[in-house]
Amino acid sequence: MKNGAQTQVRQCQRIRGWGFLCLLFCSALLLTIPIRVIWLQQSPSEPLQASIQRSSSRSTPLVRRGDVLDCRGRVLATSSVGRRAFIDPSLVDDPLILGAELHQAIGLSGAQVQRLLAGRLHRRYVALPNLLEPWQVQRLEGQPIAGVFLEAVPVRRYPQHLDAASLVGMVGQEHKGLAGIEYVLERDLQAHNGRLETYRDAARRPMWVPPSGFEPGMDGRDVRLSIDLVVQRYAESRLTQAIKELGAAGGRLIVINPETGAIVTVAEVQTHGPDAPTQQRLHRVRSVSDPYEPGSTFKPFVWAAATSAGLARSDEVLSTPRAVGHRTSFGRLIRDAHYYGPSTWRKVLVKSLNSGMAIVAERMSHQSMQHLVDQLGFGKISGCGLPGETAGLVTSVQDWSNYTQTSVAMGHEIAVTPVQMARAFCAFARDGSMPSVTIRDRTHDEGVVTTRIFDPAVAQLTRDIMHDVMNEGTGRRARSTHYSMFGKTGTAQMPKKEGGGYHQDRYISSFIAGAPLQEPKLVVLCVIEDPDKSKGSHYGGSTAGPVVRDLIDFTLPYLGVAPDLEPTSKGTTNVASVGRARGANSPSREPGH
């Protein structure tokens, strides 16, 4: 009995012992699984490592370069997504068969495929050269080819085609700005790529994103320019027409809003033959890069400075010549286009008399003339934000002579860019202060930095006299019948490229004007280069003047500025004493010319 009980106890102990051992074994077995997992994760073997790498993929979420917009939000440049095919040579069994398949699917020749793959069979990514057309994408999606994949790539599109092409510029293969605004504002426009790292299963299905595997991308910022596309289009077409009619080598036209300093239009035309669209986008913006001698359009600045300094009164009669010319104190003979005999200081500006300007320039000190040039921003970059801007050419203080003093008073021996010139002229359209100019949208006057150049009274007086230029002076042919304008013509001889001196019969004709007279909304400068004399007049008033007038007649109604002239029965016009009715008229599409 006792033995039986002992045997039972021993059996129980044995069972318990074996059971314990089994449990211990199972527990150890279970424990090996997490240990193995940790082991594999921490130090996988080489074959496994390769397999893990193959099963992970890194992609870049789509990000978008910012749009370039005009001042009213019209899109000048935008980005969309194109599709490109690429080959993974490691998945291609026979390049010849692949070539045949690609030829059948998307029309790519077998030879092209062979060239692409030559020497690249060890790579994992060989992109086909061009973006695919929608039909090609459809075919590749419908009938996939082993080793050929589709990817999305950003494409820059210019919805306005060649309008403002050189201004907007273009991007390169890497979607980075190469020229124009695209280049200058690259920092604002560029997008920042994100990252998405995915582990995939054997069927390449996304399975896992590691904790640090996702970084969101950031789209580029849209940039709104001060350019108005409607005005730009009109300016380009009108300038092209003028260049054709005048047989000129080229022309430049710039429109600035004097209140805000915003550049409304920069139009440029050259007649060196047709360019491919890409080349047109790569042109430099000549309105900021190529200086020219302003000629008589510079006279109002000297006139206002001399009047401001009390060196001449507007009704003072100067001893301007009746014929031949005026001999300066240092013996230089100054000629005029027409001779009127002794004339008032006012008439000197209205009739654009070189002799009168020289007489008063000699009363000014060199320092005050240099100070004027410096204050007006000539010889300095305007900082408007357009690419490739140059400072122009101003004679240095050391080389400034009496000759320079009288030349500069007539707009010679100084070279300015159209942007500098138009900006300086804004001083007359304002209260004598010159605004900072910009190509970025500046709808209101915030951010406008102004520099006081003239007293408000002198600026107003000069503006009134420039209004007389339109009625009785050199700007008669540029007079508008709808808006009162103030302006100044300029006709400068073209400098020779080699050997110094000037061409006798080649000119740079220009006209600069503001309108309306009482509350100017626009300053417009047109520069016509080398007009053909045989096709008519070469003077600024009759070549560039009508372009400026037409632009004012087109743009002011478009901006909702009511005309301030009332047609009279004789066909002439008077400044009407009516208030403005802003926004009263509807925007127009095309001028009535």
């Binding site: 919805p159 306005q160 599409r589």
Partner: protein, 90 residues
């Protein structure tokens, strides 16, 4: 003792199953997330294409080529100062 051990093993198994289920859920979520990323990219891509097309078709050049009657500046006939005076008096 054996009961406790058994309970521990069963608990460990249950915890393991729960963890596996959570892991599976996570994988499915990530799969959905990547699929959503792809969908977002597709939508963004088509949106940008539409944006560019709209920009092209509403630009001044495209509008000028429509059959709509050409607008002329109102300045010529409608906004002469006398008319403004009249409308102001009314």
């Amino acid at each position: 003792m054996s009961h406790r051990l058994l309970a521990t093993i069963i608990a460990a198994l249950l915890i393991g199953l729960a963890l596996l289920s959570l892991r599976q859920q996570r994988i499915e979520s990530i799969h959905r997330m990547t699929a959503l990323h792809r969908t977002i990219d597709q939508h963004r891509s088509s949106l940008w294409s539409l944006h560019a097309t709209i920009a092209e078709r509403t630009g001044p050049a495209a509008i000028a080529n429509t059959d709509l009657p050409a607008l002329t500046p109102a300045v010529v006939s409608e906004l002469t100062p006398s008319r403004i005076n009249q409308s102001g008096a009314q």
